[in-house]
């Protein structure tokens, strides 16, 4: 048995100020149209938890080389605090086709970290970790009060 997969991750980052950024990490030096927007190539990797039953807001990290555009991403995004991230994962076909459907996750920026050769953008999962038994209704300011911006919410 043998199987081949080609995985492309598309990220849309909405900084707290400045323009939205669109990147993908599979088509090298190419710009791909996805969801109607041009996603340019960036050599990033996404790592970390995606979801859990306990609503503990798992952390994920987007790691980029410490290049000029990555530094600009952090600076324009106020240190990646309160930025919004949409991470779409797509299984690319052998001919390079991009499926329109696939996993999509939303995250909230909680900061960034620099090292000598990388920049890490850190995010926590958005309000999606509601455990079983909770009424299937939308969390609004009317039924839970003012929602915390850092996405940590505990209901007892």
């Amino acid at each position: 048995m043998d199987s081949q997969i080609r995985v492309c991750q598309f990220i849309k980052i909405e900084p707290s100020k400045g323009e939205d950024k669109y990147y993908q990490n599979y088509f090298i030096k190419e710009t791909k149209t996805f969801k109607g927007k041009p996603y340019s190539f960036a050599p990033f990797e996404a790592e970390g938890g995606v979801s859990s039953l306990n609503a503990d807001n798992q952390q994920i990290t987007i790691r980029l080389p410490a290049s000029e555009y990555a530094i600009r991403l952090v600076e324009e995004g106020d240190g990646n605090r309160l930025s919004k991230l949409l991470l779409c994962t797509r299984f690319i076909t052998a001919s390079g086709g991009i499926p329109s459907t696939g996993p999509e996750e939303y995250y909230v920026g909680i900061g960034a970290a620099f090292s000598d050769d990388t920049i890490e953008l850190r995010f926590r999962s958005a309000l999606d970790g509601v455990a079983g038994g909770f009424p299937a209704s939308t969390l609004t300011e009317r039924n839970v009060g003012i929602l915390p911006l850092e996405s940590n919410l505990s209901l007892r």
């Binding site: 080609r6 995985v7 599979y26 090298i28 390079g96």
Partner: protein
């Protein structure tokens, strides 16, 4: 970008094609799954041997290419840091199609930039003459 590699024809040339960046997950059952992380091949390698090069121009009547030209180019390229184009000399003797492929002028040419993979090695074989080993690596620039 540093200057083109000196126009010196190597005594021997060993080319290794690049590959798609991928990982293999091999399960206990032996089943494998391969994941590609990009759509272009990278890490082409070119190993070159230059035999009996004069250490400087005074050797062999001053008409020969010299070890110092390679060492100067290595310094000019900031060691393994800067990229450069392959000179004509490096692909001399190669068939036209293959030469065009590696020089980047063919439609299917790899989109790579060449650098020194490691510092050149100089082996003295006789007074004033040396063998030089050079290894280049062709990688995709982000």
């Amino acid at each position: 970008m540093a200057a083109t590699f000196p126009d010196i024809t190597p005594s021997s040339r060993n080319l290794t094609m690049g590959d798609l960046p991928s990982k293999v997950y091999r399960s206990m059952s032996g089943a494998t799954v391969r994941r590609a992380f990009g759509n272009k091949k990278t890490e082409y390698r070119m190993k070159l041997q230059f035999k009996n090069l004069g250490d400087d121009v005074s050797v062999l009547g001053g008409t020969q290419r010299t070890v110092k030209e390679i060492l100067d180019h290595y310094c000019d390229a900031n060691g393994t840091f800067d990229k450069f184009n392959l000179g004509l000399g490096l692909i001399r003797g190669m068939g036209t199609d293959t030469a065009n492929y590696f020089r980047g002028s063919a439609s299917q040419s790899p989109e790579v930039r060449w650098r020194y993979a490691k510092p050149p090695e100089v082996q003295s074989v006789k007074a004033g003459l040396s063998n030089v080993s050079v290894e280049l690596i062709g990688e995709i620039n982000a």
